[in-house]
């Protein structure tokens, strides 16, 4: 290849600069648009990540709260068998009462209200020492069934001091009627 003169080198240099400018202009704009869209995508991802990060702690707290309540009530709603719930709950209540020293009286079961949230209602009458009665009240919360004491009535058993007559109305809740997002009615 013959040696290039300075003029030829300058010509080549100018041509190379011109081509470089053209390529920069042509691809530079497209590249700029691509980079801008990549940056927008990054910002979108960053916003989404921030949103997820913000949502996580409250969600973790809810999970912890559920585990705490589930442990306190000895109840996992996901494992409730609706078909035998009323029978099992009634049996558990009666067993708890008997084990606590409560003499049971009439027990009445009625169907739940039409709203669907109450599966059944059990009215229990019994008599026993004050500690046994109070102990039963405590045990009802930890039997592992979705029970809500609708009404409690205590009267002393006059002929026998230290004895209480108790009348409990217990509602068995229908878990399947619960929808996500329902707020509890205090």
């Amino acid at each position: 290849m013959p040696a290039l003169s300075e003029r030829e080198k300058r010509t080549i240099r100018i041509a190379a600069i011109g081509i470089a400018i053209y390529l920069l202009a042509f691809f530079g704009f497209r590249g700029w648009k691509k980079m801008a869209s990549a940056r927008e995508e990054y910002e979108r991802l960053a916003g989404e990540a921030e949103k997820v990060r913000r949502e996580l702690p409250p969600y973790e707290n809810r999970v912890l709260l559920f585990e705490k309540l589930s442990e306190a009530y000895q109840l996992d709603p996901r494992k409730i068998r609706k078909e035998t719930l009323v029978a099992d709950a009634s049996e558990a209540i009666q067993n708890a009462a008997k084990q606590g020293g409560i003499q049971l009286g009439p027990i009445r079961e009625t169907a739940g209200r039409s709203s669907g949230r109450e599966l059944s209602s059990i009215q229990v009458e019994g008599m026993g020492p004050v500690p046994s009665a109070l102990s039963l009240l405590h045990q009802l919360q930890t039997l592992g069934f979705p029970l809500v004491i609708d009404q409690l009535q205590l009267t002393p058993e006059s002929p026998r001091p230290g004895m209480l007559k108790m009348n409990l109305t217990i509602i068995i809740l229908n878990y399947e009627a619960w929808k996500t997002g329902d707020r509890p009615n205090a």
Binding site: P2, A3, L4, S5, E6, R7, E8, M35, A36, A38, R39, E41, Y42, E43, L45, A46, E48, A49, V52, R53, E55, L56, Y59, E60, R62, V63, L65, F66, L69, S70, Y73, L75, D76, P77, R78, L134, L137, H138, P146, L147, V148, I149, D150, Q151, L152, Q153, L154, T155, P156, L173, Y175, W178, K179, T180, G181, D182, R183, P184, N185, A186
Partner: protein, 475 residues
């Protein structure tokens, strides 16, 4: 055979007063030129030379010779011997430039100049000094030649023809008189390398009268060896005449015949082939400096441009580089969130159980805590909404009120109402009926801490731990 495979020779071109001689290898060409009043090539000469030289180069298929050496007349050339402190490299040029500026009426940027080192004899043997032979000419003097070669796309190296002729002389100390048409150039080189140069206003048109020539030659010291050269000049008779007039030997410079073979071209060719001494090249340091400055400016401009691009790009580079990591992190977060159990419904259910009944035991505890001696509870009813209703009797007429006050003070109840107080016939007991509401969670006070159990004091003197108790029967 591919002509491009030929090795292009160097081209030597001498511009005389009215002639031009080109020598390239074995090929040569002679032509005529015209100069304007300032001594520059006329425009018509430049144009015709472009055609002639271009045609010559094209005929010999030389697209770009290796190098073009252009020797110019001595008109306008200034020669100085400059002694400077010993230095090397680029410093020499800088120091000489300062000396040129001091000794010549023009600044170095306005000159085309070159230098040759002189041997130690020029400095008197002082090792701290260096002597140089500096030749300078106005920069614009070379412009017409540059224009000519620019059109031919050649970058010539400019030398002084009188210096070039000296290379044809094998002896170190010699003088050469080159006879032109109306002017002659006499260059003498001393043993230390110093060169003196004179333009003598005498040419071949005055061959019949050599008096002015001899007079001019006698003005300066003459070297031992003198040679005479010229084109279209009867050199032998002239040499004899000058020799007779100067009373010293004057010979004819032997130059091979043929087109383009002038004394200067022959000298340059000999210098290249035989390596006779260093070539004094006229350069324009200002142009180099300008080119260097321009290059430096370009470098700074390119650097600034790159920095600007980097600065602007950094705004985008960061997100682009971090995007994969962020995407990974987001995927991990989503995966972790998906791994968490879906307990919204279950939690709502358990929250309902917790909040939809009052704390029965706490209520009973507070009622018991608020009751005083003599108060008898007859019935207690607590509803799911937190409504409390109790009936009882107390043997203190103010007992019911006190009981109610304690219930209110407990902070657990609101709307504590004594619906009925009825003293009995003996006015010993008061029957009462109280209703209240358990405050919602968050509004009621926390239960008071129970009193610590009382510990019984030990009977008898206290024994240190590990002591053996006394036997029974002894106090």
């Amino acid at each position: 055979m591919n002509s491009r495979a030929k090795q292009e020779p160097d081209v030597f071109i001498e511009f005389g007063e009215n002639s031009v001689h080109l020598l390239a290898g074995e090929k040569g060409w002679d032509g005529r030129i015209e100069r304007d009043l300032q001594g520059n090539l006329s425009a018509s000469s430049v144009q015709s030379l472009q055609q002639e030289l271009g045609g010559f180069l094209h005929r010999h298929s030389w697209s770009a010779p290796r190098q073009v050496y252009c020797s110019i007349p001595a008109r306008g050339v200034s020669i100085r011997k400059i002694t400077v402190p010993a230095s090397s490299g680029e410093e020499i040029k800088q120091v000489l430039a300062l000396q040129i500026e001091a000794q010549l009426p023009l600044a170095p940027e306005e000159l085309a100049w070159g230098f040759l080192p002189l041997n130690e004899a020029g400095t008197g043997g002082d090792p701290n000094l260096q002597s140089f032979l500096v030749a300078a000419v106005k920069r614009e003097t070379l412009q017409s030649y540059r224009d000519l070669f620019a059109q031919l796309q050649l970058e010539p190296v400019f030398v002084i023809a009188a210096f070039a002729r000296l290379y044809a002389c094998e002896d170190q100390a010699c003088g050469i008189l080159d006879v032109g048409e109306t002017k002659s150039e006499f260059a003498a080189r001393e043993s230390n390398g110093t060169v003196t140069l004179r333009v003598i206003p005498w040419g071949r048109s005055e061959l019949f009268e050599i008096g002015p020539l001899v007079q001019a030659l006698k003005t300066n010291g003459l070297p031992q060896k003198m040679l005479v050269s010229g084109v279209d000049v009867p050199l032998a008779p002239l040499a004899a005449q000058v020799s007779s007039a100067l009373q010293r030997s004057v010979e004819v410079l032997e130059v091979p015949g043929g087109p383009g073979r002038s004394a200067a071209n022959a000298g340059l060719q000999a210098q290249h082939e035989a390596g006779r001494g260093e070539l004094l090249v006229l350069e324009t340091p200002g142009a180099e400096r300008a080119a260097r400055v321009s290059r430096d400016e370009w470098k700074w401009a390119i650097g600034a441009g790159l920095l600007l691009m980097l600065l602007m790009g950094a705004n985008y580079l960061g997100p682009i580089l971090q995007k994969p990591r962020l995407a990974r992190e987001l995927a991990e977060l989503k995966s972790y969130r998906a791994s968490l159990p879906q307990v919204e419904r279950e939690l709502t259910f358990l929250e309902f159980i917790r909040t939809n009944q009052p704390p029965y035991l706490d209520t009973i505890y507070l009622l018991a805590d608020a009751s005083q001696r003599g108060l008898k509870l007859e019935s207690l009813t607590i509803g799911r909404r937190g409504d409390v209703s109790l009936r009882g009797k107390v043997n203190d007429p103010d007992g019911a009120n006190q009981f109610r006050s304690k219930l209110v003070d407990s902070g657990f109840f609101s709307r504590v109402v004594i619906e009925e107080q009825t003293p009995d016939q003996n006015r010993r007991e008061v029957k009462f009926r109280i209703t209240a509401e358990v405050k919602p969670e968050g509004q009621r006070k926390a239960l008071p801490e129970p009193d610590p159990p009382k510990t019984e004091k030990p009977k008898g003197p206290a024994r240190p731990p590990g002591a053996v108790p006394p036997p029974r029967g002894r106090s």
